[in-house]
């Protein structure tokens, strides 16, 4: 059993209204050093599999079918530590 962290972000060319609004709020807090805020999502899940290739298969299939909309989003993932049972 492994834990997976999947990060979903909007493609760079897709307008991120949440990011825009946050940028403005951050600048109102006088943090002008911060720019280009982009908001994404992170999913954590456990997978009952230890083989990295099989994990890759499952994660990719589900990411493209459900977890992301590949028209507007991209994803990256990493396998975290073994889950203690």
């Amino acid at each position: 059993m492994k834990k997976v962290e999947l990060i979903v972000t909007l493609k760079p060319q897709v307008l991120d209204t949440q990011g825009e609004a946050l940028n403005r709020a951050v600048h109102e807090l006088d943090h002008d050093e911060i720019t280009n805020i982009r908001v994404g999502k992170v999913l954590y899940f456990d997978i009952d599999e230890t083989d990295d290739a099989k994990i890759d298969d499952s994660v990719r299939q589900l990411s493209e079918k459900l977890f992301t909309n590949t028209v507007i989003e991209t994803y990256t993932y990493r396998i975290l530590d073994e889950v203690s049972q």
Partner: protein, 225 residues
Amino acid sequence: MKFAVVKFPGSNCDRDMLNAAIKAGGEAEYVDYRETSLEGYDGVLIPGGFSFGDYLRSGAMASVAPITRAIKEAASAGRPVLGVCNGFQILTEIGLLPGALIFNDTHTFISRNEVLTITNNETAFTSGYEKGESVVFPVAHGEGHYYCDDETYETLAANDRIVLTYHDNPNGSRADIAGIVNEAGNVFGLMPHPERALESLLGSDDGMRLFEKMNDWEANHDYIH
């Protein structure tokens, strides 16, 4: 014509859609999202709302619901499939229509009557309108900004698949797009609500002709590719 109004948890325009189909002279019944067949229905209506609470993305959870396979089968069999608002979002998530609907560039939820142009009246959905005719349908959405890449846009434009556009673009949609059809011309997705424009007393009855033409689908065959 007998229409299925597909109900998801969080659908909230299902009754308006049912009423529209019946008012246009058709029959209509609700079909639960857990069903796996649309046998016996001549057309499919996917209503607006917030299916599955918009969890993950608008329409994402609905795109893997049990009824989805039957919706795809109905579409490939050439039966009319209409998706309004969340129904349009679901059709893009399913892949029956290209592109995606993202947050309005205004950052606001927009709920008002919108003036629209019928840019293509040579579809079985819009043959009751004049080309270039202005119609008024209400809009009510936070994520109605139509997004697609350049290649998709070129394909849509070159094949006259942009059926409906906004006069005064409320949400940042590419090329003012409010509604598109699939390549075959039997799947129509739009953000504005024709099912809320059936009574002039309530502001507009411009939506009526859309449902009347859907109910007259067979006679409209010339328009289906």
